[in-house]
Amino acid sequence: MSSDPRFGLRRHVTLPGPLALDSGASLSPVEIGYETYGTLNEDASNAVLICHALTGDQHVASDHPITGKPGWWTRMIGPGKPIDPARHFIICSNVIGSCMGSSGPATIDPATGEPFGMAFPVITIRDMVRAQAMLLDHLGIRRLQAVVGGSMGGMQALSWPATFPTRVGAVVVIASTSRHSAQNIAYHEVGRQAIMADPKWRGGDYYAANDPPSAGLAVARMAAHITYLSEAGLTEKFGRRFQAREGGEAGAKSFGFDADFQVESYLRHQGLSFSDRFDANSYLYITRALDYFDLAEEHGGMLAGAFRDTQARFCVVSFDSDWLYPTRESRTIVKALNAAGRHVSFVELSSPFGHDAFLLDSPELNRVIDGFLRTGG
C-alpha cells in the first residue's frame, strides 16, 4: 500500500468529474489537493476523514508548504493522539473553492486558459462534501469509519451523513453549527466588502498582474479573527498594553494612528501573514458557502430530516466561551439528532479561548474524541 502513489503527503489528483453543484453549475475536471496518513487496512474500514475550517488546508499534521509551520491539528492527529496513523487511515483534503491545490477561483478555467476568478461557480458546504466523496471513490474507500471537523469542518462533518447516509459510521462535530446566523453572515460581509473595496481586487481578476488585494484580505482576516477569540482571552493576552517601539523603547500613546496597542499590532500581523498564504477570491467563495449553509433548509426545514436515513453515531462538542458558534447552536443539532433517534453524545467544554479553543490544547476534548472513536463501527 505504501508504494501506492494515491497515498501520502502533498498529493494532488485531477478527477474527470463532472461534479454537479447546488447552484446548478457543474465542475469538470475537479482538482483535489490532499494528504493521507497511516495505512488503509485490508477491508478499507479504518478511514477517518478530517474536514478543515475556512482558512485551513490539507496539511493537518504535516508542515505547511508556505509557512513551514507544523500541521494545524497535531494536537488531535498523530502518534498516541485520538486520531492515530498507527490505527487509522487519515485523509484530509483541501475544500473546493480554496487555494491549496483544489479547484478554486485561482484554478485555470479550461474554457479560457485563464484563472477562473469570479467565473468560478459559487459552491456550498454540500458541494465540498460531494468533492470529498469523489476523492474517496478514487482512493477506494466506500465507507468512512468517521468524519471529524471543527467550525466549517464541523458543517462538512454534519453534511456527510445527510448527503451520504450509508458512507459514514461516526461523526464528530466540534465548535460548529447547523446554519449560519445573521450575525455570522454580517461579519463575513464585512470581510468580503473589505476585499472588494480594495482597488487591487479588480473584480477578482488580479492574478495576471500578480498584485493581489492583500490589504483588503488582511482587513477581512482581522475582522474574522476577532470572532475566533473571546473578550476574556483578548483581555488576558493584551489588556490595554502598549506595543514596544522598534529599538526596544517602551510603548506609549503616539497621538497618531500607529499600532499603539498590542492588540492592534497582533491583528495587523494576523492580517498580513494571512494574506501571504491565502487567495482573496477563495476567501469570498468559502465565506459565501458558509453563509449559504442551512442544513435544515436542505431537508424541508426540519433539521431532524437531515439525519433520518443514517445509522451513524454523533459526537457534538462546544466551548463555553465560543460566541461565533455558541453552545445553543450545538444543542439545536443535538435536539434534532435526538428527534431522529440517533446515537448522540454532547458536551460543552470550558475554555477561555473562544471559538479557537478547538485548535488549542484541550485534554478533555482529546479524551472525549478518543473514547468516542474507539467505540462501535
Binding site: R313, C315, R331, V334, K335, N338, A339, G341, H343, V344, S345, F346, V347, E348, L349, S350, E364, R367, V368, D370, G371, F372, R374, T375, G376
Partner: protein, 196 residues
C-alpha cells in the same frame, strides 16, 4: 462486573435485555455501561455535569450534557422502553413535570430516591433538631443539591394523584432489600418501576 450502587443494581437486574433506555442523571455512565455490556441494552444518557459527561463519552457511551428540568422536552414521545431517573428526582426544580416527562418519553420508568422518612433521618431531626446529615444524605442543608426531599409515602401519594401505576417496587436498607409495608420507616432507598 463493576460494583453498582444498590439502587442501580436493582434497576440493572430488572431492565429487559435488548431494550432501549434513557438514563436521566446518568453520572459517569456506570449503569449504562453495565446495561450495554451485560444486557445488550441500547443506552442513552442525560447528565448535567460536564466532567461526568466527558467520562461517560470517553467510555464510549452516548451521553448528552443537559438538565432534566429543561431538556427532557426535546425527546420524542415513547421513544424509549425505559426512562431511568436514579437519585435525581429530589434535585429537580419541578419533580412532577419530570415524572410526567419520564412516562411520556419511556413506556415505563424506573425512579429511585433516598427516603427522607427513614428512621435515622426522623431521629436526627427529632432529637438533634437539625437538618439530617446521614450516609445517603451526606450534605448539609446549604450544600445539598436535594431541594425536594421526598418520602416513600409522599411519592406513593403523588403517583396516586397523577394516575401512575406502580408495576413493581423495591426498598433497600444498605444493600439489602426490606419489606414494603413498613418501607417508609425502614427503607433508606426506594426504587419504583412505573407505567401509565
Amino acid at each position: 462486573m463493576t460494583e453498582l450502587r444498590p439502587d442501580l443494581a436493582v434497576i440493572a437486574r430488572n431492565v429487559a435485555a435488548g431494550s432501549r433506555i434513557l438514563d436521566i442523571g446518568c453520572g459517569d455512565g456506570a449503569l449504562m455501561a453495565v446495561l450495554r455490556d451485560e444486557h445488550g441494552v441500547d443506552a442513552r444518557g442525560l447528565e448535567i455535569d460536564p466532567d461526568n459527561v466527558a467520562a461517560a463519552v470517553s467510555r464510549g457511551l452516548s451521553v448528552v450534557q443537559g438538565d432534566a428540568d429543561t431538556d427532557l422536552a426535546d425527546y420524542p414521545d415513547q421513544s424509549f422502553d425505559y426512562a431511568i431517573l436514579s437519585q435525581t428526582l429530589q434535585t429537580s426544580t419541578r419533580p412532577r413535570v419530570v415524572l410526567d416527562d419520564l412516562l411520556r418519553i419511556g413506556r415505563r420508568a424506573f425512579v429511585s430516591f433516598p427516603n427522607f422518612a427513614h428512621w435515622r433521618v426522623r431521629l436526627s431531626l427529632l432529637w438533634g433538631g437539625r437538618m439530617p446529615v446521614t450516609r445517603l444524605l451526606p450534605e448539609r442543608w446549604y450544600d445539598t443539591p436535594n431541594i425536594h426531599h421526598v418520602t416513600i409515602d409522599d411519592f406513593r401519594a403523588l403517583l396516586g394523584e397523577r394516575g401512575i401505576t406502580v408495576e413493581k417496587s423495591w426498598f433497600l436498607s444498605g444493600d439489602k432489600q426490606t419489606g414494603s409495608a413498613a418501607a417508609n420507616l425502614f427503607a433508606e432507598h426506594a426504587v419504583f418501576l412505573l407505567s401509565r
